[in-house]
């Protein structure tokens, strides 16, 4: 799951130059660092819901919950079962 989400973030949010410069891993802050802004976060939420067949309630899809790939994995797993 980790690599799938990291790949999605690289393709969806970084341009080529940034993707080369930046070392992105599961602990990299996404929202607080400005890589993903809250305006653009909706496509990530939709991607996760479709890919993992989950429904992430809006009140839980907070900037904190989406701030690192590890946080995202925890959120998806919570709703998976």
């Amino acid at each position: 799951m980790k690599d799938v989400i990291l790949d999605y973030i690289k393709n969806e949010y970084l341009d080529e130059e940034e993707a080369e410069d930046m070392k992105l891993d599961e602990n990299t802050p996404l929202i607080s660092s400005g890589i993903v802004d809250s305006f653009s976060m909706v496509s990530l939420k939709r991607f996760l819901e479709k890919k993992y067949s989950v429904s992430l309630p809006d009140e839980e899809a907070t900037p904190q919950a989406f701030d690192t790939v590890n946080n995202i994995i925890a959120l998806v797993n919570k709703h998976k079962r």
């Binding site: 949010y13 341009d15 660092s33 400005g34 802004d37 305006f39 653009s40 909706v42 496509s43 939709r46």
Partner: protein, 414 residues
């Protein structure tokens, strides 16, 4: 009742804004808006005459005698305010004339005035789209568009800034929706770059999508006759929704509009909440805006001068050794990358009689701090020569002349 616990929380928030260095302070201008102004800053300091490089007064019409006279005339003949929303008893002949003139100027089918372009953007999406539709926006669109999209039930999506491959991917992905609306600024206000509207219109045709452009930083001067980015990119008449402002090049007071397809404008008249629930644009503003459009329809002299000033300014900054964002618009950002450096240089330039503002995260992306300069038709070359001398002096003081992005970051960090 103002509970202490609430007051304390507000104070803590304000302190945190100050601590982060993003507390906004107003500078008091003791003169009309113009290329050279008299400023009190900080509050209580002696007045200083400065060259203004940060207003949106692109065509220098904010204090133009003919525009001021037209406002006076409308004030005398039609009064000060309407004390009503448009559809109750707030529509004058001036409003209908202005809407018709804007329609003609922008090359659309119809136009509806709003109190501001912020209000136009806040109201238009909700009025014309529903949950069957999708809005696909450039990631750097203006905050008012982001707010307007949030008020709308249609699905939201975004594409990487000006990235046509990414936009195409999104259009393919959303072919199952009833309607698709591509949303972009014409000129992006922080970078001064121009949306590739020709390519956007092509994709829109291919994927059956509508196009929305906020042309606030373009109406009046982009394109050979100043109609906007749609003229600049050769797609005049092909934009479904244009929003723009009277608060920048077109006189600079306030007011905005939605201009575009007849049905879309009519739906705004029926449903757009900022239109329905706020007062009509005041008569002096409507009268003055009509005069502005008359001036601009007669001659392209002012937009031509603005273009010449912009060419001079971009060239002069290049030659001085600054890193600037390339583009065709009168918005010319000087890239400094480091937030503190942008503030220090703006402060020193003020001491040299140049009024500019440094921008940094979160107003622009992290590590992209800059000083944004904006040209006006009110500037003249000697004025810009004085400004460039000041930039060179301060640039040399900080040792950044001739350095590229990497060099500046090595010296000051990002």
């Amino acid at each position: 009742m103002y509970p202490t616990v609430v007051q304390d929380a507000y104070r803590a928030e304000l302190a945190s804004i100050r601590d982060k260095g993003i507390f906004k302070e107003e500078r008091f201008i003791h003169s009309p808006q113009a290329a050279d102004i008299r400023v009190e800053f900080p509050s209580g300091a002696a007045l200083q005459d400065v060259i203004n490089l940060c207003s949106n007064n692109y065509l220098g019409l904010s204090s133009h005698p003919e525009v001021v006279a037209a406002a006076h005339r409308a004030l005398d003949e039609r009064g000060y305010g309407m004390s009503s929303v448009r559809f109750i008893c707030g529509t004058q002949d001036l409003h209908k004339q202005l809407e018709a003139k804007l329609t003609e100027f922008l090359g659309t089918e119809d136009t509806i005035l709003f109190p501001s372009c912020m209000d136009a953007n806040a109201g238009v999406f909700e009025a014309v789209l529903n949950e069957q539709d999708v809005m696909i926006a450039d990631r750097l669109v203006h905050a008012s568009i982001v707010d307007g999209m949030r008020l709308c039930k249609a699905m939201q999506d975004t594409y990487k800034h000006a990235d046509m491959k990414h936009l195409e991917q999104k259009l393919q992905e959303h072919q199952d929706r009833r309607g698709r609306l591509i949303i972009t600024d014409g000129v992006f206000s922080m970078d001064g770059d121009v949306a590739p509207l020709d390519q956007i219109c092509e994709l829109a045709d291919r994927y059956n999508a509508m196009v929305f452009v906020d042309d606030s930083h373009a109406t009046g001067f982009m394109g050979k006759t100043g109609r906007g980015v749609h003229e600049h990119c050769g797609v005049f008449g092909r934009i479904d929704i244009i929003t723009t402002t009277l608060g920048k090049a077109l006189g600079g007071a306030s007011g905005g509009c939605v201009s575009g397809r007849r049905e879309i404008v009519e739906l705004c008249r029926q449903r757009a909440r900022p239109y329905l629930f706020s007062n009509a644009v005041p008569p002096p503003i409507a009268g003055a805006a009509l005069k502005v459009l008359e001036i601009l329809s007669k001659t392209t002299e002012r937009r031509d001068k603005l273009e010449a000033n912009t060419t001079f300014w971009r060239q002069a900054l290049h030659e001085a050794g600054f890193v600037i964002k390339e583009g065709d618009s009168p918005i010319v950002p000087i890239m400094l990358f480091n937030a503190k450096l942008s503030q220090d240089i703006a402060r020193d330039l003020y001491q040299e009689g140049i009024y500019v503002i440094g921008f940094f995260f979160p107003v622009v992306a992290a590590g992209q701090a800059r000083i944004r300069t904006q040209m006006s038709a009110d500037h003249d070359i000697p004025m810009l020569q004085r400004a460039i001398e000041a930039f060179k002096k301060i640039g040399a003081k900080y040792g950044i002349l001739g350095l590229d992005k990497k060099g500046i970051i090595e010296k000051y960090g990002q």
